[in-house]
């Protein structure tokens, strides 16, 4: 980490934002705070992507993730009438083992990362990846996953509607 270069400073600030807000997602006592912390975490990630010359992915993240998914989350929180406020207990009784698991995973991953990639540099970060190249790849080499993912979305759409609508079956009518 060469702190002489501005990129390092930019990265460090972004990283701190992302890390802190990520931490707040899982330790916050308030459900709405958790969700909002995730929003900020995602925003920081988008900035990081811009830094890493992945423009398109960054804006996709903003649009899809932050714009749609998080809104969906907030809807879900509202509909399930989650306990808002600080009096609800949001952690269950397995905090200890969970912490152990998380820490061990972190240690494992960083240790193997350092072992493998220590000293390697990301070379050309100045030039953002051209969207045309992404488009060519998406509809060229990756056209099959593209189509399959569209099916997945269709399935999710249909499934979501089926699952979430009110049950109008006669059995339900009789029972209710």
């Amino acid at each position: 980490m060469d702190f002489a270069q501005p990129i390092t400073w930019v990265f460090t600030s972004l990283a701190l934002v992302i890390a802190y807000t990520g931490f707040r997602v899982v330790t916050s006592g308030n459900l709405i705070h958790s969700a909002l912390a995730l929003v900020f975490s995602l925003a920081g990630t988008a900035g990081l992507f811009l830094l890493l010359s992945a423009e398109f992915v960054a804006w996709v993240l903003v649009l899809v993730y932050m714009g749609a998914v998080m809104v969906l989350f907030l809807f879900g929180i509202m509909i399930t009438k989650a306990p808002v406020g600080y009096d609800a207990e949001l952690d269950n009784e397995h905090k200890g083992p969970a912490l152990v698991a998380a820490v061990s995973v972190f240690v494992l991953m960083s240790w193997s990362t350092i072992l493998a990639f220590d000293g390697q540099e990301m070379s050309s970060l100045g030039v953002p990846t051209a969207t045309e190249d992404l488009a060519d790849a998406l509809l060229g080499r990756f056209v099959l996953p593209f189509e399959i993912v569209s099916f997945v979305l269709l399935a999710a759409l249909v499934g979501g509607i089926t699952l979430a609508r009110k049950d109008n079956s006669p059995a339900e009518e009789e029972m209710s």
Binding site: A19, G76, L99, A101, L134
Partner: protein
């Protein structure tokens, strides 16, 4: 810039996600933790793409796919949580040990 810090950041987020997955009581919060983990994976992918500059930008493509699938998954997951909530009026995961034994 060196790649290792980026990867360590991603590892940190990932382990945060694991903690949230295992330790949170509310179902929606567990889903939030899952989102965090997916986000960590995306960072990893984009970083490696920046390092190796694949001719087809496959790292970024892959992260686009992950974002898409994560969106779909969140939709379904929330629908399921909604149904569970409708049936039992509680989103507490500890109450749903009906598959015990």
């Amino acid at each position: 810039m060196p790649i290792v810090p980026v990867l360590i950041l991603a590892a940190f987020l990932f382990s945060m996600g694991i903690y949230g997955l295992l330790a949170r009581r509310n179902a929606v919060m567990v889903l939030l933790a899952v989102e965090l983990m997916l986000n960590a994976v995306n960072i990893n992918l984009v970083a490696f793409e920046a390092m190796w500059l694949d001719s087809m930008a496959s790292g970024q493509i892959f992260s686009i796919f992950i974002i898409t699938v994560a969106a779909a998954e969140v939709g379904i997951g929330l629908a399921i949580v909604l149904m569970i909530f409708r049936n039992s009026h509680s989103a507490n995961l500890d109450d749903f040990a009906t598959m015990k034994g």
